[in-house]
């Protein structure tokens, strides 16, 4: 699996198939048991704590539910990476934070606490925080989960615009087909720990692959079975000779 520089690549698949693990491997939060995880020609799995800190400065990550610091205001959340990693003076930090918050439409919510904003707004604040240092790699973990249609559209637009504006490499982990296909340059489908299919959204829309079709057409049964594997219905009810 590779992620082209400057492109928006989506990793899709059912719940629990290991999509988020891909991001955690890239961020060095999970070490690979085998194989290599390369970022700028460095194997992330082999880095020590200092190496991870160095490489993570080049990454931004949007967590599924924002993961905002609950004891800090919206402003302070976005200012956090700037305060930690730059020697910028207070006025410059304020200007940068306001620009980031303006980009996500929340400049006037800067003094609110995370408990005072909606889930969609929290996602946008987390988005502003993730790109505060203009990282060359931005990872999005389920950015559309639990959002209303308006917030969903806003988030998708922001991801695409930010990718274009920063020229960053973006990795989008999601299972939301229409929004992802509208913005992604390339898509990987994961199932059973393997790449089940890959291609551009246009190619995948035309795919005859059963798994891809089940996923795109939202079919309840197919290569991913509806029933949890185990005994048959006949076995459980003690019916012999019956057809299923």
């Amino acid at each position: 699996m590779s992620f082209a520089k400057g492109k928006l690549t989506a990793v899709m698949g059912g719940s629990g198939c290991g999509k988020t693990t891909v991001l955690r491997l890239l961020g060095g939060q999970v070490r690979a048991n085998s194989g290599k995880v390369l970022f700028e020609n460095e194997d992330i799995s082999l880095l020590n704590n200092e190496g991870l800190i160095r490489i993570r400065r080049k990454m931004g990550m949007l967590f599924q539910f924002g993961a905002l610091f609950t004891d800090m205001s919206v402003f302070e959340n976005v200012a956090f990476p700037l305060r930690e990693h730059t020697p910028l003076d207070e006025q410059t930090i304020t200007d940068l934070v306001m620009l980031k918050l303006n980009a996500v439409g929340l400049r006037n919510a800067r003094d609110l606490m995370p408990s005072q904003i909606s889930g969609g707004m929290a996602r946008r604040v987390a988005f502003a925080r993730a790109v505060a240092l203009d990282p060359p790699l931005i990872m999005y973990d389920e950015p559309f989960a639990g959002l209303d249609p308006i917030a969903l559209g806003v988030t998708a637009r922001l991801i695409k615009e930010m990718n274009n504006a920063l020229g960053a490499t973006s990795i989008l982990v999601t299972h939301d087909v229409p929004e992802t296909f509208a913005i992604a340059d390339y898509v990987y489908f994961i199932a059973n720990g393997k790449i089940a299919a890959e291609g551009t959204p246009t190619e995948l829309m035309k795919s005859k692959d059963l798994f891809v079709r089940q996923f795109i057409d939202a079919q309840p049964d197919g290569p991913v079975p509806f029933h949890y594997p185990g005994k048959t219905l006949q076995d459980d009810f003690g019916i012999t000779g019956a057809t299923s």
Partner: protein, 263 residues
């Protein structure tokens, strides 16, 4: 029969191994916290904010408890001393009991129940809400940024709170002993002044409270940091903080008292 025996031995082995592993992890974490505390010297504000926070959390409960413990010491002390005609030594008894023993121990138990549980829940919820992961991904070490400041804040706050407990307790003992029972005020204070040794009595109490501060704060933070990121996990970790801290305080108190008596 044989199968059951094997099962029991397996369970015992698993229990022992997981506990040894747990102690190993905790020791490693403790060393990590100490090792990553150096940066706090440049950003002491992170520690002082937490000292204020933890102190505020526990101040009222510790002051009120100290007052009532002082009341009881005044009554019980008078009851015992009166038998030997030594009620004039009530001030000394109250002061020694509080500075050497009750001040550090009761403060630590209350601190574990009030601030310790709050620390565990805070760290546990930060973990459950992926805040610690987010910090990691922002190239900020959560141990250095979140755990270490809270640890040192607890270590600093404990002796201060124990001193407040003892001071308020002495006032409580005075209120019961002098205005209520009628012990001579001059004797109450002069016996105390003459009998309490700053180095041996107050100093030992301070050492105890610092050790309890290290134990309680670390246990609380470790339990939060290692808790499962679920509501049940955080709830279980909070309970474990109180149980383990209380037992650790009492065991350490015995050890420290034994060492202090022998020297």
């Amino acid at each position: 029969m044989m199968h059951e025996l094997v099962n029991r031995i397996t369970r015992l082995g698993s229990f022992v191994r997981s506990n040894i592993t747990g102690i190993g992890y905790a020791t490693k974490m403790f060393i990590t916290v100490i090792g990553r505390s150096i940066g706090l010297l440049k950003r002491f504000r992170l520690v002082s904010d937490q000292v204020f926070f933890l102190g505020n959390y526990s101040f009222v409960i510790i002051a009120v408890s100290g007052l009532f413990v002082g009341f009881v010491l005044g009554l019980q002390g008078y009851y015992t001393l009166n038998r030997y005609g030594s009620e004039q030594a009530l001030g000394l008894l109250v002061a020694l009991s509080l500075t050497r023993e009750l001040g550090p121990v009761v403060t630590a138990l209350l601190f574990a129940g009030r601030a310790g549980t709050s620390l565990t829940a805070e760290i546990g919820l930060m973990k459950a809400g992926e805040q610690l992961s987010a910090m990691e991904m922002m190239a900020v070490d959560p141990v250095a940024r979140v755990i270490a400041p809270r640890f040192w804040a607890g270590v600093i706050a404990m002796p201060i709170l124990a001193a407040i407990f003892s001071a308020v307790g002495i006032v409580g003992g005075y209120l019961v002993g002098v205005p209520l029972i009628g012990v001579d005020s001059g004797a109450f204070w002069s016996q105390m002044q003459g009998g309490v040794d700053v180095l041996n009595d107050v100093g030992n109490g301070v050492i105890k409270s610092v050790v309890f501060g290290i134990a309680v704060t670390f246990i609380a933070l470790y339990q939060g940091y290692e808790s499962k990121p679920t509501p049940e996990g955080v709830s279980l970790a909070t309970t474990r903080t109180v149980v383990i801290s209380s037992l650790a305080i009492l065991a350490l108190d015995f050890l420290l008292t034994a060492v202090m008596f022998s020297t």
